[in-house]
Amino acid sequence: MASTSLRARGSKTTLSSSTIAATTTTSATISNAVASTSTGSRAPKLNLTVYRYATWLEENQMKRSAPWIAVASAVLLRWIIGLGPYSGMATPPRYGDYEAQRHWMELTLHRPIRDWYSDKSKWWDLDYPPLTAYVSWICGYIGDKINPEWFAWEASRGFESPDAKLYMRTTVMICELLVYISAVVVFANRWFANKPWTRKHTALLLILMQPGLILIDSGHFQYNAVMLGLVVWAVNSFLADQDVLGSVFFCLALGFKQMALYFAPAVFAYLLGKSFRQGFFGCIWKLIKLGIAVVVTLGLQFAPWLRSQDEILQVVQRIFPLFRGLYQDKVANVWCAVNVVIKLRDIFDIQELVRFSTLATLVSFLPSMLHLIAKPTKRGLIYGLINSSLSFFLLSFQVHEKSILVPALPITLLILDEPATASLFITLATFTMYPLLRQEALAMPYFVLLGLWIWLTSGTFKNASKLLEFSAAVNLLVMSTIHLAEMLVPPPARYPDLYPVLNTLWGAGGFVLYWLYFNYRQFTLVNTPKMGFRVTKTKQT
């Protein structure tokens, strides 16, 4: 009996993890026992360089050291990118995001906590939620002990030195290591709990190699990994059915960067849907628990500014600066693409645009949200996260090109469940950030990391549908044509922004298709709560 079930498993070459759902508990334990002895021949093989490396590691009994090697390589890669320039390097008067982060350390270090959001120095106002401010304060405090010059009040505006850069890069690296990389390690273990070790490790390596986040955090200079890492911790908790803990993590993510709101509808829908399945009193009790967790976590973070309505309003205005406009620079979303033809900003005033874009966002994430309430599975949660964040990215008000990292996160997490689509999405997402990276002299790291990603994931298209293989080829062709044209032909004088516009148009088109695709996927997932993705502890031999 065991041998037949094994043969059946071996013959399944699809990557869809729904196969696992079919195996009963007994055959699962048998296959686990066999998998530990000769995984290579039984489990469907992936046509990936990284997978072959993982197989090699397993054969050489390096399972224990492998995660450390992976993390060390990830740190090495990020550090090497960090040796390069950062946003606004040596570009007075305003500099860039690096200076913003440095200034916030200076601000939080020297001003009383009440003034953090009402400081009138007209120099990179603190416009991130409180957790960022607290982390800035810690970084500023330690940095001040090392060299007070880095964060001297007012005197350090625009201060740049190799040592200061080294310190700032180190803070990003440590934050990412503690929050994001650790979260991904845990995620790979929980998400692929019933899968062979090689698959877990392949996923871990690919997730850590995602070029977009590396380029923005370690190159451009930001702390996105902290927010994204907290979201992954929230997902990890949801996977282990620790919903209260998960919502605490999610509120921390919200408190670190307001962009985590892109995920909020999905998280809300998942938790609500799950509560509805607990019976009447169970539902109420669960909602009370979750409510308390959310209120307490957010309340503690915002506590210093809760003394008067004005203060709260001041903080909120800083965090959600509606006056900045529909979108920033060039971003591959619907508004920016439509704007090429119809000048929206000339026709409508800002209040109308806010209302209109909010309504559009709401409509676009509503179907996925309702579906998630009806069927709150763990797999559905990830798709819900993708769909709501993509809706926000495409349609909400005031989106940055870097915001694509938010939908890119759950898509990256699905790298072995939807290998071809996910890797193509990451390629496209990284491509849309090129205009920004080029401005900051990060073109070389961009090409190297993106090339590495395309090479590492090229094997995913072998098993994919012809359509997907074709679209990946077309995408590669268009991308390289735009890059080559930009290098060789100067844009016509009438359209100085020709290449960035082409970039955003191509990106926006792709993202709209992805929004459709992932909605379709979410609705067609073969899922009942009973067969949903279970987290069970596999016995390690």
Binding site: S38, G40, W56, E59, N60, Q61, M62, S65, W68, I69, A72, S73, V75, L76, W79, I80, G82, L83, P162, D163, K165, L166, R169, A441, M444
Partner: protein, 515 residues
Amino acid sequence: MKTSEWTLDYPPFFAWFEKFLSLFAAQVDPKIVQLDNLNYDTPATIYFQRTTVIVSELVLYWALQRMLAVMGNRPLQKIINWSLMLNPGLLMVDNMHFQYNGFLYGIMIHSLVDAKQGKLLRSGILFAVLLNFKHIYLYIAPSYFVFLFRAYCFENAGNSIRARSWISAFRPLHFLALGISVIVVFAASLGPFIAMEQLPQLASRLFPFKRGLCHSYWAANFWALYSFADRSLIFLVSKFPVLGQHLNLTLDPAALAATTRGLVGDTAFGILPTVTAQHTLVLTVLLQVPGLIAVFRRPTFDRFVGSVALSAFASFLAGWHVHEKAILLCTVTMSVAIANLVGTSPNSGAGASALTDLRMGGGGVLTSRDVRAFMIVSLAGYIGLWPLFFTREETPVKVLITAIWFVVVGSGLDQCIPRQSKSSAAVEAGPSSAWASRSMLRHYTALERLYLFGTIPVQLYVNLVHEAVFGQDTLAFLPLMITSVYAAVGVVYGWLLYSTAYFSSGKVLDKKKTR
């Protein structure tokens, strides 16, 4: 016109190579090739120069692919292949520091692979070409000379020749072919300079004996240990003059002044006798001779490739003005020697029977000594390169690439050691705990483990603690000295271990049994 202080001190072929690159450089930016445009480092220049290194390393890639095909595409060979392609030493020296070693080692591996295939003439010509690219390969020239002379110019290469039949075994045509081709290569390289009567000038550039025993900081060799002994004696004698009177030691006042200066410039010894270039030459030759004799008596490729590594070691350990970068010559040749051995594949569970099947193809069998020696020398040697990268932001890079390489390659090679020799190694290593039996370090003796783990606190001190305690300028020589001496201990130990592996293995002993 003021030109650079960085005079050309490589042989002519390398100069032609640079000339070739300059054709492209002039296309990228004419200012790169302007003679009085010194310290020109625009981003475009750096991109261009770094790109030339990466492109030239395709030669190494090609050579490694050939090696894989010729030596057999088995797990051991694959590991060695990756280990060389992503070698931290090469990455540090070529892609961080800036040299073209990957390209040159590519030529060397091509030559060694030719020798393995029995294409000895081509191997010799390639090596002659290599010598005219960079004369550091003179370190291994004795092995090449002995091997080619004995294997190519005499019949019956695989066996010993009785004294009487030496003359009948001689092949004059082969001798002429080899001799003439090598002379042609050297004529192509040096000929123009002989015609211009610049040979003495060229030689003085290539062999700057004025430069002193040790390089700017000590390479991890005998002289590092020797200098360290001298410094320690000076320290002791100057602190406790009684000791000096008692032992009848005299201090050289000039050297005393140099103590704080420590590591820069010409090395003057205070108490121990001064070492001259002749001394180092004699010592180097003496150390090379045993390996050469082994090759001469039975010139097989297995013996040859090991003796190349031993020659490289002898020159590195005892040579005059050795660069720390020369450790690559030892580790790369050792890698090729190990790739020539037979290992087991991790999940074949090969016992003695499977091993005899494997033995049909290649040379000897991989032993734990080979692996231990290789890993210890590599780690020590590459850590000896770390002081080249002294800025703070480079520290994580050099530490991580070395550490990742050590763990991956160390674990991989560990699994290739056949079971047979594992048991003997376990006896050798003595009783070990359950943890150690699973670890990649299970084959290492307690002392070796101590050394390997010892690098962590030592390098923590060198890279972090020292500056935090003393600041940047006080006792600046101390971290450098600690690194050099600690690395030298590892390299010397690894060399001894590898020598015992070489001289006690079937590679050298087989013959006695067959007699």
